[in-house]
């Protein structure tokens, strides 16, 4: 094979593309969309991440920690020094303990968790990054700084944001950062350990790993750990904003989905393109062009399309992101209380990455069409025997078993995502197997006298075979759309019902100061919220008060409830825990838990008597009766039971606590649901975009196949079928194909929603909710897809030329 042969063959292929541009255009469009979508997702997620990082030192967000095997032998200073001297320089010592703090300029005291970290080694770095210059050692080492979330600082309510550790009398200036662990104050370890606080009285609780470990490093570290320590992966959801993480996960999932759909579209377009070129390719073979040269020329042609389309896609994606930046910044600020950083995209890097992925993707997606083409160019293609019914049933059974197995063995977030992929691909298999027989059965149901309808269905059967990959792309998009819609709808219904039941009081007062309940008007009962951060089995948990009296007892929903649960709860021997705590610590009803009761008037050993749903809460939580708390553990909120009107209570409140805010129950529920809906706006838009891409490509593929049906159409016209009737018949074919796909996609969509709720959500965020299969939602997804198809139907059908000049047809 010579370079000249390759050059001439490629030129010939490009000339063919010029003659029949639809398939190459479809390929280029798909690559462009995939590259653009992935670029936008990358940049948006990077912007979100940078925004978060800019608000705090990300190095405190450890992914792994070294902890004690048992409480009796915590990590020690010598363990820490030994591991660092062995070269594990990403390890940072930390100690987390409940400490009493008071505002530096006031007497009010609070008990909060203080996390002390050895911040000095964090100053180190390697030469690849230039840190901000620090020219004064005193400024670096001697500053008494503390970090906490804005919510924690607000809760402490110190006038000048200065707090003092009561035990050591050390004073700290609080700095707000959303990346700090919730309900904690983070300080430097040397400032924490001041007499009388010592590593003996307040031992280290963990050695944090500030950088990700390679598998080699992990093995080495595990070998070097002393027997009393173990390496464990931190549940990141307890440290970072779940909503933000959820947003990024959704965005990545949608971006990947779009790329997968585009890959299917490309494969389908290639099949069509090679089929249309078969005659010319055979001529090239007859002229002596070898199979390898031809394959290489086809690849070169595709790489040219790929380079152009990928570059255009990256530029388009970067442009789109830049245009969306103001909107995203507002969304992030309002929804997640986080910054969104406007990035200056590294275009060269993006282009290089995108082109590399595109080339790799092209080589992969070309494999099947090219293989088929090579076999067609070598021997006369013979129709393979169709699968028997038994074989189809067997394959379907295997697919179902594979899906069940994938769901059954899932134990991590990654495995849950793999289960999603298996379900989608399994669904594609089912569509390929059963869509043609489904349509064929329909044809058999109709009387033979309806000739045009019979033809229409038979044609749809034929279409389904020749556009099966486009059908798969449409199926994936539709299944994902249905799954997302069912999931979001279930989540919405669960949240609405949960909030409506949980917010049972007439009003809620938010106040930084306590209010004298005795001064309240008649028929106004105040129930102060109480809250205390504590530990359960060595892990942080937020303890909250829950009043065991009507109407609160009726308002608390449970997933599981023990016998005599309320009596045991009220007596102080039982405890209610949220799903998050139950999942994280594998706790079930009637299990015992060990509570750090140093700041609570409760036994250290309690029995779980109920597990309640707690949607959207990233933290582990438990409920205790009011007797477990002191008035100082006020959570800045009151539930108000009253039949008085809002103005009456507001008047009284303005005298008691002028700064307090009061909300009626209905207003709180409405506000919460608005926030909920806003959270899903972006992902809804991407979901719809994916459906549109799949729909358009499906339509284009079908239309291209129809171009090859011109002889049949001409024949029908010559038999006297009028053009409008022919167009109607074609529209029916498209909609029939679409409807067949919808029928198969809906059950898979529901299954996908179940996996989203019970597996992805469970392992990513540690809570689940009941799946609600609402026929309206399913119908909505089905109609939306039909609508997308119908919307674009008009274009190709409008252009159908029933008359054609047979002299222009290429002889095969």
């Amino acid at each position: 094979m010579t370079a000249r042969t390759l050059w001439l063959s490629t030129q010939a292929l490009l000339a063919m593309a010029g003659k029949r541009p639809w398939e190459p255009l479809l390929v280029a469009l798909s690559i462009m969309l995939a590259a653009g979508g992935l670029t936008a997702v990358t940049l948006i997620n990077e912007g979100a991440l940078q925004g978060e990082l800019a608000q705090a030192d990300s190095r405190l967000s450890a992914t792994d920690t070294i902890v004690a095997v048992t409480d009796k032998a915590p990590p020690t200073q010598s363990d820490y020094a030994r591991l660092r001297r062995l070269g594990f320089t990403g390890i940072i010592a930390s100690a987390t303990h409940p400490m009493t703090v008071q505002c530096a300029s006031a007497n009010s005291k609070n008990t909060v968790f203080v996390t002390a970290v050895d911040s000095i080694p964090l100053l180190g770095h390697e030469t690849s990054k230039t840190p901000s210059p620090v020219n004064n050692t005193a400024a670096t080492f001697g500053a008494a700084l503390a970090q906490a979330t804005p919510a924690t600082i607000a809760k402490l309510n110190c006038p000048d944001n200065r707090v003092t550790l009561v035990d050591t009398t050390s004073t700290f200036q609080l700095h707000a950062t959303s990346a700090a662990p919730k309900n904690r104050i983070v300080i430097d370890i040397a400032a924490f350990y001041r007499a009388p606080v010592t590593p003996e009285t307040h031992p280290l609780t963990a050695l944090l790993l500030t950088s990700a470990l390679t598998s080699f490093e992990r093995n080495r570290l595990e070998q070097q750990l002393p027997a009393h320590l173990k390496l464990q992966t931190t549940q990141q959801s307890t440290d970072v904003g779940t909503l933000s993480a959820s947003f990024r996960l959704n965005l990545w999932a949608m971006g990947m989905l779009m790329a997968v759909v585009c890959a299917f579209v490309i494969v389908n377009a290639l099949h069509l393109m090679y089929r249309a070129r078969l005659a010319n390719l055979i001529r090239l073979r007859q002229l002596g062009v070898g199979l390898s040269a031809l394959s290489l020329a086809l690849m070169t042609e595709m790489l040219i399309y790929g380079a152009v389309a990928s570059t255009a896609g990256v530029l388009g994606g970067a442009w789109l992101t830049r245009e969306l930046t103001p909107t995203l910044a507002v969304t992030f600020s309002s929804l997640f209380n986080l910054n969104y950083s406007s990035l200056d995209p590294q275009l060269w890097s993006l282009l290089a990455t995108s082109n590399l992925i595109t080339f790799g993707g092209i080589l992969l997606t070309m494999a099947a069409p090219l293989w088929r083409l090579r076999s067609q160019l070598q021997i006369k293609p013979a129709d393979s025997a169709p699968l028997s019914l038994a074989a189809k049933l067997l394959i379907t059974l295997a697919i179902v078993l594979a899906c069940m197995l994938a769901i059954y063995v899932t134990a991590t977030q990654t495995q849950a995502l793999i289960a999603v992929v298996i379900i989608l691909l399994g669904g594609c298999g089912v569509v390929l197997l059963w869509l043609p027989p489904l349509l064929y059965s329909l044809r058999k149901l109709l009387p033979a006298s309806l000739a045009l309808t019979q033809w229409s269905i038979a044609s749809a059967c034929q279409l389904s075979g020749r556009t099966r990959l486009a059908v798969c792309a449409f199926f994936i998009a539709l299944t994902a759309n249905t799954g997302m819609n069912v999931m979001v709808d279930s989540f919405r219904l669960a949240t609405e019902s949960w909030i409506s039941q949980r917010l049972t009081a007439s009003y809620y007062i938010y106040s930084g100061d306590t209010i004298d309940a005795m001064s309240a008007p008649d028929d106004v009962q105040l129930f102060p919220g109480r809250q205390q951060d504590t530990m359960v089995n060595g892990q942080p948990v937020s303890a909250r008060v829950y009043y065991p009296r009507s109407p609160f007892t009726d308002a608390l929903q449970f997933d599981v409830l023990a016998d005599n649960a309320w009596q045991r709860y009220e007596s102080g021997t039982g405890v209610f825990i949220n799903q998050q705590l139950a999942f994280r610590q594998s706790l079930q009803v009637e299990d015992a838990l060990t509570l750090d009761n140093s700041n609570l008037n409760a036994p250290s050993s309690l029995t779980v008597v109920g597990i309640y749903p707690d949607y959207g809460n990233p933290d582990s939580q438990l409920f205790l009766p009011p007797a477990a708390f002191t008035p100082q553990q006020f959570a800045n909120v009151y539930a108000v039971l009253s039949t008085q009107s809002l103005p009456v209570i507001r008047d009284w409140l303005s005298q008691q606590a002028p700064d307090a805010q009061i909300y009626a129950r209905d207003a709180l529920i409405t506000g919460s649901m608005e926030t909920f809906d806003n959270t899903f706006i972006v992902t809804d838009a991407l979901n719809l975009a994916t459906l549109l891409v799949a729909g358009i490509s499906f339509l284009l593929s079908v239309s291209l196949v129809v171009l090859d049906m011109r002889q049949s159409l001409s024949l029908l016209r010559s038999l006297g079928v009028k053009t409008p009737k022919l167009k109607f018949s074609l529209a029916c074919q498209y909609l029939l194909l679409c409807a067949g796909t919808v029928v198969l996609a809906l059950p898979f969509g529901v299954l996908l929603a179940w996996v989203f709720v019970n597996q992805v959500n469970r392992f990513a965020f540690s809570w689940v909710y009941p799946l609600q299969i609402n026929p309206e939602v399913l119908l909505g997804s089905a109609l939306a897809s039909m609508f997308v198809v119908s919307l674009f139907l008009l274009i190709p059908i409008g252009k159908v030329q029933a008359r054609l000049d047979l002299r222009n047809e290429v002889a095969l």
Binding site: A81, R84, R85, I120, H125, T137
Partner: protein, 352 residues
């Protein structure tokens, strides 16, 4: 027209040459703290004084190496352990000492630099005696006895750069200034205890950019401790250690102090180990040109003359960019010597 251009060029060149380039930022200033004063007449005792002098504000153990591989390709390396006295409230976690270590490795094409920090008495940083060891995490200078040499140095700067060197001394320790009492300013306000071991023979291996090399060469060790230099007025210094090919060694520096002309002094060390202090009147040390490196203008080319020794040499960096870009960015790197004598050495420029 040509005349006008020539005048402009002269003016521009004149501007560059006549504008003194001097440090403006104090590197280790900590004016609020107090530490033990450096006093004249205190005799340095070895091996005791190899250890830490924790009452002083500031101290460093400084190893620099000029190395060649089997093809005589030049390399350079640096290991420095700094100690600072932190005057903050006492902690039950650590001592009042803070340690910072700098490691650097140079070839003509690569520069790996890394810095680390640690607190004293935690167990992962410090200087121990019997045997002598200076370490921070897994960067370890380890001797076999209370003496500094023979000893080894192991450092991993990053995943692609590391070194493992064996060091032996073949000459005496050199006390600078007045028996180790080293004056840094004309008024004597700035001073330190300062001694060196300039006769170090080094062999070992280094890995740079994932390439493993066998190297050998000369090393230089400085140990200095002071409280007086931890002051805003001590703006920086230009420091040189030279290994002349005839076996002689030279240490020289210019100290920059607020509103004072640079204080110049040095030590001339014969190959037999005899040393004499060089007062400013006995030698010259001046930059011959300056170079822009990022936002810094640095005097990278120097001329040194020591008439009594017949020395008139030019000092030039073996590559331009040898800035250690850390929390405290400074220039530290290998220099080549040409002129009346040849050789190699190290140059440090701080405060620019």
């Amino acid at each position: 027209m040509k005349k006008w251009l020539a005048v402009m060029v002269l003016l521009l060149v004149g501007c560059v040459d006549n504008t003194p380039i001097a440090p403006t930022q104090s590197l280790f200033a900590n004016n609020d703290s107090e530490g033990a004063a450096v006093t004249k007449g205190m005799a340095l005792q070895f091996p005791q004084d190899h250890g830490a002098h924790e009452a002083c504000q500031l101290e460093w153990w400084y190893l620099t190496f000029v190395l060649e591989d089997e093809n005589n390709t030049p390399y350079a390396a640096q290991f420095t352990l700094f100690r600072f006295l932190d005057s903050g409230d006492p902690s039950t976690w650590s001592s009042a000492q803070l340690y910072m270590a700098h490691g650097a490795l140079h070839s003509q094409d690569h520069h790996a630099f890394s810095e680390r920090f640690a607190r004293g008495e935690v167990g992962n940083a410090g200087v121990t005696m019997s045997p002598f060891s200076a370490f921070l995490d897994d960067w370890v200078w380890q001797s076999q006895s209370a003496e500094l040499f023979p000893s080894t140095l192991t450092m991993k700067l990053n995943n692609t750069a590391s070194l493992s060197l064996s060091m032996e001394s073949n000459g005496p320790l050199i006390r600078h200034g007045d028996s180790g009492y080293s004056v840094k300013s004309a008024d004597g306000r700035f001073r330190s205890y300062y001694y060196s071991q300039p006769f170090i023979r080094v062999t070992g291996e280094l890995t740079l950019n994932n390439k493993r090399l066998t190297v050998s060469g000369n090393g230089w060790f400085d140990h200095e401790w002071t409280s007086e230099l931890a002051n805003d007025s001590a703006l920086g210094w230009d420091w040189f250690s030279l290994h002349l090919d005839n076996g002689d060694k030279v240490m020289a520096f210019r100290m920059h102090v607020d509103d004072q002309p640079p204080h110049i002094t040095g030590t001339y060390i014969s190959k037999e180990g005899k040393s004499r202090t060089l007062p400013a009147s006995a030698f010259t040390l001046a930059p011959v040109s300056s170079t822009q490196l990022g936002d810094k203008t640095l005097p990278l080319h120097w001329r040194m003359t020591i008439p009594e020794e017949g020395i008139d040499i030019l000092l030039r960096p073996f590559k331009t960019d040898q800035l250690n870009r850390g929390r405290f960015t400074y220039y530290e790197g290998r220099i080549e010597i040409s002129g009346s004598h040849s050789g190699a050495g190290f140059m440090e420029l701080t405060g620019y």
